[in-house]
Subunit: 237 residues, 2 copies
């Protein structure tokens, strides 16, 4: 059973959660009463809609119904806020991927490429179950088009260890391929899933009802078939 | 010989180009002396850096060294400007893809999947040859994370006809696959190439010198091997 419950994981509070949010009218009744989480949720949606450059702390504060000073107090700067938004889920996804891979390895014997692909995909696929998760998917899909100084450090911090572990797992499962091809294919795999998981409308619009881009089972089955074919293809050289 | 010279195509002037740009200090000496093109070039870079929400007409005007009133006169609104930026290259890419596909068809006989993939990829790969083209690649890779009202109409207008022609070509070349699988795979192909062509740093950083993400020949060879494997894989069902 693969670890899919990314959204249920709760980051540890950091000792600042006793500050009360503004309780004026318009304070949204969320499931999450932790003010830090409320601000992160608001920031996640705002960054996903407006991009990094288009987002202001003021906008985030308004959406979270707190003062801008409180956002600054918790996160310092816009970059600090973005960092926490990204790492909150990025680390959970990365940890779930590692856990899935370790589960496969613990079985012993040769691991099938399809199992590695599913272990990689399922933690992000689980994000599609909630509006917040879908907002994060869009934010993440857009990360690679944000300026390098915004994206590289965070992406590396969240994903380097787990993505390199997957590179090694694919190398072991596909011993006929040069490492060069493995790196290219893992990069192409990331692009394919980021797009297919965050932009279901393109498929709906193209296929006009033939595909159901909101059915998690269909997404996983179709993406896995394609990615296994691509990863296991003959060497490019 | 596939049509790759996307950047050399010049959109037809629209009868407004006699208005002179501001000739004050700081006016950049571009190769392109057409003021409309200068504004579109400036907007392309600005949108690619700041996203749709983060871009202002004022910023574009400053970068183009023209007045904001002139930008408004030519393009009406921010959306009008974005539309022209996107369609300027999007249509050229789409036309080049159609031309490439027609060339393959005119040879007669069965067309190989690898040839269709290359015909699809080469017009966008050519964009990587210039800074403006790379800015457009980023802008395009990010388009699907922009709000639907910004992205859908433009994307459909630029790409629907050609992408559907490729869906049909893949269907003919892969008669064992249900149409559903073809649609999914074309969508996954688009995601893979948008990411791999616009974000070379992720690969460089992961692979640490083993891959050269700036070598067009390597990109095309690696992407084609992966995509052909994915497209021609056994049916997902």
């Amino acid at each position: 059973m693969l670890h899919e419950n990314v959204l249920e994981a709760e980051p540890a509070p950091e000792g600042k959660k006793d500050i009360a949010p503004r309780s004026g009218p318009g304070r949204p009744e969320g499931k999450n009463n932790n003010v830090r989480e409320t601000m992160l949720d608001a920031a996640e949606v705002t960054f996903s809609e407006l991009g990094y450059a288009g987002t202001t702390l003021r906008e985030v504060a308004q959406r979270a119904s707190v003062t801008q000073a409180l956002v600054s107090y918790y996160f310092g700067s816009k970059y600090g806020l973005f960092e926490q938004v990204f790492l909150r889920r990025g680390r959970v996804i990365s940890d779930a991927r590692m856990e899935n891979l370790n589960t496969l390895k613990s079985r012993g014997g040769m691991i099938k490429v399809a199992d590695i692909v599913r272990a990689f995909l399922t933690p992000t696929l689980a994000l599609r179950a909630t509006p917040e998760g879908r907002a994060f998917s869009r934010l993440q899909a857009r990360l690679h088009t944000e300026p390098p100084e915004i994206s590289y450090k965070l992406r590396n911090e969240a994903y380097d260890v787990s993505t390199k572990a997957y590179v090694d797992a694919f190398s072991t499962a596909l011993p006929h391929l040069p490492k060069k091809d493995i790196y290219w294919r893992v990069t192409l795999m990331v692009g394919a899933y980021l797009y297919a998981f965050s932009d279901t409308h393109r498929l709906d619009q193209l296929a006009g009802g033939i595909c159901d881009a909101n059915d998690p089972e269909e997404i996983l089955t179709q993406a896995t078939a394609f990615l296994v074919g691509g990863l296991a293809a003959p060497a490019a050289g």
